[in-house]
């Protein structure tokens, strides 16, 4: 697919950029979901269903990639862009290409792990990784569905997927190469605008849970114990004070 496209005519470049940004963010989301799903391959939850989900996610990602690429390339080749818009476009470009690289890496890994753990063969052993649950929700998020798709995966999906994966990952690779050649974005001139550390999103994370529960939690227990003891002492002190005050009063 070539990257040529006519300018959208309507809305200013700003609107277009917004569109592109939305696309890139969605791509990011899908790639993240793909990453989450791919970690399950070969593990205890590996199944035809998983492969199917992987496939769906991958397809969506590729589609998004194509779309964004089209628009972004058009934007960036437009030399009449004003500098601030251009900078934004470049930033988006960097994000886009990095997501695509991540996707490519994940696809390669999935492919090679999938080869070592073919589901269709009878002697296939899966590694007991401790995973149990379903990944349907992740896929739903990836596909932007409100409800997880509960349809059964078609049989021997894994072989189909494996076969296609090889071709697809070459295609993604090619896309990345093409992108590099067509658009001359100097990476060292691109400066990130966001903060270094992202704001903490949640407090009750799973690792925190883990740390509470494990052996090292002695620290936490200690802390809790200390707090408890401190509270106790404080209350005792308060009681003593009250008593002394009472005594004074009475006495």
């Amino acid at each position: 697919m070539d990257g040529k496209v006519a300018d959208d005519g309507g809305g200013g470049s700003q609107k277009l950029l917004e569109e592109v940004r939305a696309l890139v963010e969605t791509l990011n989301k899908v790639v993240a979901c793909y990453h989450q799903l791919s970690s399950c391959v070969g593990g205890s939850t590996d199944s035809g269903q998983l492969r199917h989900e992987l496939r769906q996610t991958r397809e969506r990602a590729q589609q998004l990639a194509l779309d964004s690429r089209r628009l972004l390339t058009a934007r960036l080749r437009d030399r009449s862009l004003a500098p601030p818009t251009r900078l934004e476009a470049e930033l988006l470009w960097v994000s886009f290409s990095s997501s695509l690289e991540l996707l490519h890496a994940d696809m390669c890994k999935v492919f090679s792990v999938g080869q070592n753990f073919p589901l269709s063969s009878n002697t296939g052993v899966l590694v007991q990784t401790g995973m149990q649950g379903e990944t349907a929700k992740v896929t739903a998020r990836a596909l932007s569905l409100s409800e997880p798709d509960l349809n059964e995966a078609p049989a021997s999906m894994d072989r189909l997927e494996q076969g296609e994966l090889e071709a697809e990952k070459a295609r993604v690779d090619q896309m990345i190469e093409d992108m590099e050649q067509r658009v001359n974005v100097l990476r060292w001139t691109v400066e990130a605008q966001g903060p270094q550390n992202a704001e903490p999103v949640g407090s009750g994370s799973s690792l925190a849970l883990l740390s509470v529960l494990q052996a090292e939690p002695e620290q936490h227990r200690c802390k809790r114990g200390q707090m408890f003891v401190a509270a106790l002492v404080v209350s005792l002190a308060a009681a003593a004070l009250l008593l002394s005050v009472g005594v004074l009063y009475l006495g």
Partner: protein, 679 residues
Amino acid sequence: MTIRNVRDHGQRYRPRMACLKKVEALVLEMQDPKSGVKSQTQRLVITTIPHAITGEDIVAWVANRFNIDAREAQSIATLMVAFGYIYPLQDHKRLIIKADTSLYRFQTPYFWPAQQWPAEDTDYAIYLAKRNIRKKGVLELYEQEHYNNLHKWMNHKWDFIVMQAKEQYRAGKERKKPDRVVFDCQERAYWVVHRPPPGTISAMDYGLERLTDPNADEVKKKKTMDYYRRIVIFTQQCIMRSRVKSSVSLGAIVKYITTCKNHDPFLAMCLPSNPWLTDDTTYWELNMPNVEIPTKMRVERWTFGFRELLSDPRGRADFRLFLKKEFSGENLAFWETCEDLKWGAAATMKDKAQQIYKTFLAPGAPRWINIDGKTMDITVKGLVHPHRYVLDAAQTHIYMLMKKDSFGRYMKSTVFKETQKKAISPEEHKFSDAQLEQNAKKRKPNLSPIVLRQREEEEKARLAASGPMDITQLCKFTAPVPHLAVYTGICEAQLSHGRERQPPSPGFPTLPNSAACPSPISVAIDSTPASERKFEGQGGSAAAQFPSIAEVPLETRVSASARGPDESQLASQKSRVALSLSRFLRRGCGNASVLASLSPKCHSAMGGRVQPLSREPLSQPQPKRIANFFQIKVDIPPECRIYPIDSEDEENECTSRVRGTVKEIICPWESITKQDQAG
């Protein structure tokens, strides 16, 4: 110009990690529900997670599988943990197996170490950002440092990294709680393996990266006939390689050690004291390259072998002196010039090679060296297209000659014995601590190497100028020696008062070399003591009896130029001289130096004239000399017989008829056309 983003296509093979495949096979075996490792459930407060295994179970299984003892099984299991195939659930930072009830779990294949792909920095940055998102300030110090570094050099991607981290975090949230816990553990374990905390030994230190998989052949290559044939050839060649019996080589090592061990400052005390330890530089001063009196140890070293003698400048000087007395100095000179050619600048190589030929190799050359015909053939052929190593064969021959012959005699000679007697053996310094401190304070830097080099070159020039050129063989020449005679003997008498010189046997004809090369070299041989005496006595017509020729130092441009102006003076004196001189000049050998060597200077010094110009008929050259006659065609009149005489052979009575023609040494490559024309 686009700077390509370098992506790892998984094409780099890290051979040290080739063992990973075997570990993977082992891990898969452990999964077998029947014969694998028994798993249990890990109980956490809220939930339970299956597939936890105890350390002792793992170790027992490995021991059982390979039929080994517990300790070895433990180390194998530790290796599996170190590579990241199994991760500990408690104490996650220490990647070892504890053979007790501590729990472990298998890592998901996605996070297994891969031989082709390294762990990417982008992923690491995303992981750290994710942890920051979860809870701020949870990063360890080294992780924080990594994070800051990554932020600096991956700055352009940083928006993407933060965005991706957020997305991954949210995607992770879509999973059920126990799965989330497991995933987090897995990821954490992965990064402990691939970005180990500082101070820990990482099993991921994989050494070199290669572009081809060294194990690919074993697995996939088809074993065709051709493949086996190549293997057979390879092994045959291995067998055919020459080997040395270990008894022989070990014997050589032992011998070397026993001879040299007292000379090694590491192993034995060096006298007077080791400058590096005591800050006293006497040792270096006593062992300077051109010191007058060497130390006893140094002299002893010369006895170890010829190479030791030559490589020590002082030793070489001593040897040179000895050779001068023996009249075989040309050997050493040739060897040194060859070394100069080998190591010198490429620009001057052609000229140097020519010079060397004219000086040493050509028949009738002033300092003709005695090498066999075959080597001479090879050398001359090579000199047509000279290169750095063209004189290698000749040089080796001469080296061997010196080693086998001269070296032995040197060891027994008076020169050496005197040096040995005079050699000093310094007393050992015994510094007290206070003195050591003082020495340390008095340290001063060495002379700059530039200064040293200048000094070296001055020394060389001086040596060359004053140079005791040894007397090489007589070249029985039919050339009109006279005007070409170089009376270095006289000069020498003048310059080096009392420098000893051994006169050659009487009756040696003097044939100056018509080696009219740019370098002023003429072979001059002192005929007799008588002549010497005569020279010294009168400087008169004595020389008429026997033209004596002394040799001029090779680089005696100084003296040459000094004598230069007198050339005309000389020419005017003797008609014969003039005749040959003109002929000489016509041949383009107009180098003053040669003629100048007639040394008017010596003239004055002697108070007489140099008269090598006698045309005394000399006795016929002896036939046996012809043995050394070379096959090289040069433009010589047929009557002219040139036979260099071995300098050792001093009893030789050879004469030759002095001819009117000057023999000119023509380098073969120059005279190809002439010869062709001639015949």
